[in-house]
């Protein structure tokens, strides 16, 4: 069946560099000596450690539990001993350190007892969501949003279309491609579980038309079902959630909304496979497919990697040359971030380690003034005016950048890629966003302080008037009612005696 497809504005055609890493079947990366598990591998609150130094852990055992609603637990990827907890360098654009659990593996790779759940069709959606939550599954496409939340459309929301995103549009990355080639049935099984949880009406598996092998595998796995496998034109960033929804349905996700607002849910193909493993075998998310590639790597390929494996182990496995390493990226060249070194571990959202030589990354050219050529606007998949955003971000006019919809920017990098003046546009947008967030926080703080201050003033004022009122009242009482003091005293004594009597009787009555 040929499905009608739509187009989004702009996008760029990038050199793919995909063949390099698809020559070999995926194999398991060797068990590393140390596994470093950051507690924050997803969007939302950090997980909270439930093990301490010296604890023995088994493969698949939960070592940190989800804290708060938007959070995900973390499991030991292999058996061993917890040797360290504390702040270590983590893969994050900020380059900062964050709390981690370090496990020294014992080589036995011994599983903890896994709980299976029988036929998922008999489970109701909330039970399924719970299994997925407990398995620590987050969006494996890159964002790392806890998956169980996306499987809860909320009351009154109908899911018309469930999209499984296999559009791996970033250059170099092929892990989803390889997963689809090798584990298409798992992905389709996962899709059916997700569909069951969402009661989705139609299911689409989307992938780009540059992956014929994966397409064939997915078609074969989906044969005999009503699941549509759709090839979309290869253009970056067709794999962006909002872009893909547009391509497949013609609908646009509202500016500050989510796909669910228009009855669509998107999940990554690797997430679906992980959901299948969790529901069918009770396996938590402890490993994933990952592409190790780039000009610096002698045998670029995909590996099944345990979460927490240090990047250096993977580079060693695939052969690299530290001497010519120019840039080490986690993720693709368009949206990935540069790592300061090879000591950090890979996390749940890591899809690619890209080791670039000087030849891979374009030589740094001087930044020239904007010539207003508009190539950026032509390339912007969100139809923003990157030039105007740049001017206003440059001028630190934070109100204006928001007027020009800065927060609709998905930081795909198309504008920077095409800019003939070599202006790091995305860098400016990130800067403006950070500034605005900082301002907001400042404002909230100031607002809270102001409220506190006003409240205090009010309280002081109130206490003052109250005191004054009491004072005058007392004064009035003293001056205006000079009744015989013995009378009042007597009356008080009588009243007290009556009360005491009543109480006694009450106690007696109670016994």
């Amino acid at each position: 069946m040929i499905r009608r497809l739509w187009k989004f504005n702009g996008g760029v055609h990038l050199p793919g560099h995909k063949e390099e890493s698809t020559h070999h079947p995926v194999r398991r990366a060797p068990l590393p000596k140390r596994l470093i598990l950051p507690l924050h591998q997803h969007i939302g609150e950090s997980a909270e450690a439930v093990v301490k130094v010296g604890d023995q852990v088994l493969k698949g055992q939960m070592i940190a539990h989800a804290k708060g609603f938007v959070s995900a637990p973390i499991h030991a990827p292999s058996s061993g001993v917890v040797v360290e907890t504390g702040d270590l360098p983590v893969p994050h654009p900020s380059g900062l350190s964050a709390p981690c659990i370090v496990i020294e593996t014992d080589g036995a790779d011994q599983w903890a007892p896994l709980q299976t759940h029988g036929d998922y069709m008999q489970l109701d959606p909330s039970a399924l969501r719970n299994i997925i939550r407990e398995a620590g599954i987050v969006g494996l496409g890159g964002a790392g949003f806890p998956s169980f939340i996306k499987l809860n459309p909320g009351p009154g929301k109908v899911v018309n279309t469930l999209i499984l995103n296999g559009v791996e549009c970033e250059p170099y990355i092929t892990c989803d491609d390889m997963l689809m080639r090798e584990h298409a049935p798992d992905i389709i099984a996962g899709l059916r579980i997700i569909r069951h949880a969402l009661h989705a009406r139609e299911c689409i598996v989307a992938l780009e038309d540059n992956k014929p092998d994966a397409y064939a595998a997915m078609c074969a796995a989906a044969a005999g079902t009503d699941i549509q496998v759709v090839q979309v034109p290869t253009i970056y960033p067709a794999g962006g959630e909002k872009q893909l929804v547009k391509v497949l349905t013609g609908m646009e996700v509202p500016g500050n909304g989510l796909p669910i607002h228009i009855g669509v849910v998107c999940q990554n193909v690797a997430t679906a496979a992980a959901v299948y493993r969790a529901v069918e075998y009770g396996e938590p998310l402890i490993s994933r497919y990952m592409t190790i590639t780039g000009g610096n790597i002698s045998q670029p390929r995909n590996l099944e990697v345990l979460i927490g494996t240090p990047v250096k182990d993977l580079l060693d496995e695939c052969g690299w040359n530290p001497g010519t390493l120019e840039r080490l990226l986690m993720g693709g060249p368009m949206m990935g971030f540069a790592l300061p070194g090879d000591g950090v571990p890979v996390i749940k959202t890591t899809n690619c380690i890209l080791a670039m030589t000087a030849a891979d990354s374009q030589p740094q050219r001087p930044v020239m003034p904007c010539i207003r050529c508009g190539a950026c606007a032509d390339a912007c998949p969100v139809n923003l005016l990157p030039q105007q955003l740049y001017w206003h971000a440059h001028a630190k006019d934070l109100d204006k950048v928001q007027e020009y919809n800065l927060f609709d920017c998905i930081e795909c990098g198309c504008c920077s890629y095409v800019c003939p003046s070599n202006i790091p546009l995305v860098h400016y947008y990130r800067y403006a966003k950070t500034e605005i967030w900082a301002k907001e926080r400042e404002k909230q703080k100031a607002e809270a302080a102001r409220l506190r201050y006003e409240f205090r003033l009010q309280r002081i004022e109130r206490e003052k008037t109250e005191r004054a009122a009491k004072h005058t009242q007392k004064k009035e009482e003293l001056t205006a009612a000079p009744i015989d003091p013995s009378d009042t005293k007597k009356a008080a004594i009588v009243a007290a005696m009556e009360r005491a009597q009543a109480k006694r009787e009450e106690i007696k009555g109670g016994e």
Partner: protein, 349 residues
């Protein structure tokens, strides 16, 4: 190990500002070749001289403004300005015409406004208009196409002598070399109540559907312009809208009264229409940023070209029309934006 951590994206297209500018120059080649074929060495000398002046002025201004010389001298923008201005100047103009125009374009219209990317007006057109209103005689002494100059052949040295001030060769008067341009001829003759058809069929300056020679030069610029479109150096919006605006106006009046108003085809291949549509109005620095803004900008340039050609004081109008619309660019940019993804109308198509 400590690696650099620049922010994403980590890939970049190979094109740079100089690539863009050089492509514009390459695209001028077919038109220029025709120009040289029909008008001789003067064109070449003017262009080379203008380029030298432009780069000299650019370097001097950059030095005064404490800007790095190399990236800005090699960006090709001064080159484009120089070539466009030299094309617009009559091929036998004295050297100081080229000097004043180019220097003014680079120093005042470009560098004093802040250099590359900051100029409000198209520098080449500012230079041209300055010359046109300051030296009307020199600027309207257009050399006739070579095939119309029968008494003399204008060799390289002759041309060099004429341009650099040692006067005309013996026995040659400027009148013999120059002639009114087709647009000018038409304008004066229509005022004398001649019909367009009579004028075009009798005056030797006219060719098949434009000026003699000029029509082929225009065709050359069209060819180069199409290549620029193909290479995505420019978008179709401004050229199409400008040509559309001009042809629309021309068609209306041509239908009303073909005796007094020349045909749309004549307008298309005369004067600087096609040069303007593909090479001048498309200057990104001075044009609006949004697609719809560009359509409006182009269309209004086309309308203005027709209005000025037909009822204005100067026969050729592209420079004035472009400069007037440069003035409107900030306003257009302020009011016309593209619809942001996910905002406003939810369209299915």
């Amino acid at each position: 190990m400590q690696l650099k951590t620049p922010s994403s994206p980590h890939a970049h297209m190979p094109a740079s500002v100089s690539t863009v500018m050089l492509r514009v120059v390459y695209a001028l080649i077919p038109g220029l070749a025709a120009y040289i074929w029909f008008f001789g060495w003067g064109v070449v000398i003017n262009i080379l001289f203008a380029v030298v002046v432009a780069l000299g002025c650019e370097a001097a201004m950059l030095a005064m403004r404490d800007k790095p010389l190399k990236p800005f001298l090699t960006d090709g923008s001064a080159l484009v300005t120089a070539v466009l201005l030299a094309i617009s100047i009559p091929p036998l103009s004295p050297w100081w015409i080229t000097l004043i125009g180019t220097a003014f374009a680079i120093i005042v219209a470009k560098q004093l406004y802040g250099g590359l990317g900051y100029n409000t007006f198209n520098p080449a057109m500012v230079g041209y208009v300055l010359l046109l209103i300051s030296f009307p005689l020199e600027m309207t002494s257009w050399q006739a196409p070579l095939m119309l100059i029968t008494q003399h052949s204008l060799g390289f040295l002759d041309t060099l002598h004429i341009i650099f001030g040692s006067g005309l060769p013996d026995g040659l008067r400027l009148d013999a070399l120059t002639t009114a341009t087709p647009l000018d001829t038409l304008k004066t003759q229509i005022k004398l109540d001649h019909s367009v058809y009579d004028i075009i069929s009798t005056a030797p300056i006219f060719g098949h559907f434009g000026g003699k020679g000029g029509e082929w030069i225009s065709a050359g610029f069209l060819l180069g312009g199409l290549w620029l479109l193909y290479k995505r150096v420019i978008n179709w919006h401004i050229p199409v809208a400008m040509i559309g605006g001009l042809l629309g106006m021309a068609l209306i009046f041509f239908i009303i009264n073909p005796a007094s108003y020349p045909s749309p085809l004549f307008h298309l291949f005369s004067g600087a229409t096609l040069l303007g549509a593909f090479f001048i109005a498309t200057d990104p620095v001075t044009a609006p940023a949004s697609t719809r803004g560009r359509l409006l900008y182009g269309a209004l340039i086309g309308v203005l070209v027709y209005v000025i050609r037909t009822w204005g004081g100067y026969p050729d109008a592209v420079a004035f029309a472009v400069l007037l619309m440069n003035l409107a660019t900030p306003t257009i940019d302020y009011y016309i934006h593209s619809r942001v993804f996910g905002h406003g109308a939810k369209r299915k198509d």
